[in-house]
């Protein structure tokens, strides 16, 4: 099933924030985790995650830190900030409204 592009884009911010709320992470791991959780149905174009992360960083919703790996390469880790958590809570409410409404409508559509 191909998910609608707008839907994928709209869900990117809450997903990233929600994953970071579970613990610090980096781009590649976030993408893998999203694919895993959605059973491979939610596939992002890998590169596109990074502008999203940078936007969140600019807005102060996440903070980033470079750390050096064993092989000498650097990796940029992202951490959610208190502002990010607040934003996540607000997004959660918004999505619940949408989700709840859709569920209700569809349930009625099934019963009638």
């Amino acid at each position: 099933m191909d998910l609608n592009k707008d839907l994928v884009a709209a869900s990117a911010t809450p997903l990233v924030l929600a994953l970071l709320a579970q613990g610090d992470s980096y781009g590649y791991a976030i993408i893998k985790r999203v694919a895993e959780l959605s059973g491979g149905q939610l596939q992002w174009t890998d590169g596109m995650l990074y502008p999203v992360l940078h936007r969140l960083e600019r807005q102060g919703l996440v903070a980033a830190k470079w750390s050096v790996l064993e092989n000498g390469r650097r990796r940029k880790y992202y951490r959610i900030t208190p502002e990010g958590r607040a934003q996540l809570a607000s997004l959660q409410k918004q999505w619940q409204v949408v989700d709840g409404t859709l569920r209700y409508v569809w349930m009625r559509a099934c019963t009638t």
């Binding site: 590649y28 174009t45 590169g47 596109m48 502008p51 940078h54 650097r74 900030t81 502002e83």
Partner: protein, 471 residues
């Protein structure tokens, strides 16, 4: 290890370094991507490669898959440009410059030239109706009140054209200018001032405030109507600063041109004063606004960092000045001499400090950690607040001696507006420097505050003249 075997392994289950290097070089050619972005993306590519190779793919196959998954680099750098629009400001274009056909450049130049000529001629339209500009005789009151209205609407038209608005949706932007034109001209200053030649206080206030009020409308056209999106307001702040710098440069050149015109015609026994004063200066001043705006838009990279550089130079100097002033006052105990000019001087001081803060913010990469310059900025803001506080206390102590003249009300209110901005900026700065808040909060506060200046200026233009009986 066996040489041949090593070669083979590096070929099949090692990341193909050469291809990665080429890919990296390709990313570097996108000027909107910084080295740290490329490093991050390369790290991602390598993680992906390791996973794919671990799953049994050969190095070059894995590379193809990983690059494909990364997505189109055009789209990617486009996204980066949108997120980091301050980089775009420096780099000017998402796409490399060569891809822009020369034709659009030429077309834009023609459009700009015609708008500039239109602005220059607009200045002469009132002369057709008998309102002549004669610099020798009197204060050209009509022209001083209306100079904004000759230029800003045409500047707005330029941005509407540039941002691709259709005429219909841009039409309502004519409203603020129409309102401005009405309030600049309906009030009966002539009779109220007693002597017709003299400029009354409220008239002067209108002259000073109308441009500030209408600049917001220009800003709205500048951001293409998307006032709240994509850092558009910050770009408008940058634009305003660079425009001022360009305009001063052009004005300097224009002054030299005027001087030479006078001098050379005098050498052959002719007085070119009527031409210089009546045509060259007013028309040139109007047209130059359009030309300067176009230069800022088109040649951002030439002068890109002028405003931030000036900010960096003058922030320490003004901080030293303010601290020296405070120290001297504390040492000698001499009170501030409250006279007519003190309030206005204080306003100008606060405007300057807000400007320094604003341009320092506009040029700063919001992701940088707190640095020395940030602390210096905070010190500047705090010392300006201290000076303003001392002076306001002195004024408050003697407020009963003042009547409410329009100048004093305007100056006091503006002082308050700037004070609120600076107090909150200082608070946000302090939070940021102690790592308690994001820098973005400071940026948001400054851009959110922008309309306040224009709204107050509009109130002064609309309410003050009737309120104070056109004094």
């Amino acid at each position: 290890m066996d040489e041949g075997l090593h070669d083979m392994t590096s070929f099949s289950d090692q990341p193909p370094e050469e291809q990665i290097a080429q890919w990296r070089a390709y990313l570097r050619s996108r000027r909107v991507l910084h080295d740290s972005d490329i490093e991050e993306l390369e790290g991602h590519l390598r993680d992906q490669l390791a996973a794919l190779i671990g799953a049994g793919l050969a190095g070059d196959e894995a590379f193809l898959v990983a690059v494909k998954r990364m997505g189109s680099l055009d789209a990617l750098s486009g996204e980066f440009a949108r997120v980091h629009c301050e980089r775009l400001w420096k780099q000017l274009l998402i796409a490399p410059e060569a891809e822009v056909p020369a034709k659009t450049g030429l077309r834009e130049m023609l459009v700009v030239l015609s708008i500039a000529v239109a602005a220059a001629l607009a200045v002469k339209i009132p002369a057709l109706f008998g309102i002549r500009l004669n610099l020798d005789e009197e204060v050209p009151r009509f022209y001083l009140r209306n100079f904004t209205l000759f230029v800003f609407p045409l500047l707005t038209v330029y941005f509407l054209w540039k941002r691709g608005w259709n005429a219909k949706s841009g039409l309502w932007l004519a409203l603020p200018f129409a309102v401005g034109a009405v309030f600049a001209n309906v009030f009966p200053w002539n009779t109220a001032a007693g002597k017709a030649q003299e400029l009354s206080d409220t008239e002067l206030l209108t002259i000073l405030h109308l441009p500030i009020a209408l600049w917001l409308a220009v800003g709205f056209a500048y951001v293409g109507g998307r006032w709240f999106e994509n850092g558009g307001r910050m770009n408008f702040v940058r634009f305003s600063g660079e425009l001022a710098i360009y305009y001063v440069l052009i004005a300097l050149g224009g002054g030299v041109l005027c001087g030479f015109t006078m001098m050379m015609f005098e050498a052959i026994g002719m007085n070119a004063g009527w031409f210089v004063g009546g045509w060259l200066m007013p028309c040139g001043a109007a047209g130059a606004v359009i030309i300067a705006s176009w230069l800022v838009e088109a040649k951002q990279s030439v002068i890109e960092n002028m405003a931030p550089v000036l900010t960096k130079i003058f922030t320490p100097l003004f901080t030293v000045l303010l601290l020296a002033f405070l120290a001297t006052m504390a040492w000698t105990g001499s009170p501030i001499n409250v006279n007519r000019e003190v309030l206005i001087a204080l306003d100008l001081l606060l405007v300057l400090v807000v400007g320094l803060v604003l341009y320092a913010i506009s040029a700063r990469d919001p992701k940088e950690p707190p640095d020395f310059f940030g602390r210096l900025q905070l010190l500047l803001v705090v010392s300006a607040l201290a000076v303003d506080g001392v002076a306001l206390a002195a004024i408050a102590a003697r407020i009963s001696e003042f009547g409410f003249t329009p100048n004093r009300v305007a100056a006091l209110a503006e002082n308050l507006i700037l004070l609120v901005n600076l107090v909150w900026s200082a608070w946000l700065y302090a939070r940021f420097l102690r790592g308690r808040g994001p820098f973005a909060a400071l940026e948001r506060w400054q851009v959110a505050y922008l309309p306040a200046y224009s709204i107050w200026a509009a109130l002064v233009v609309i309410l003050f003249p009737p309120l104070f009986g056109y004094r």
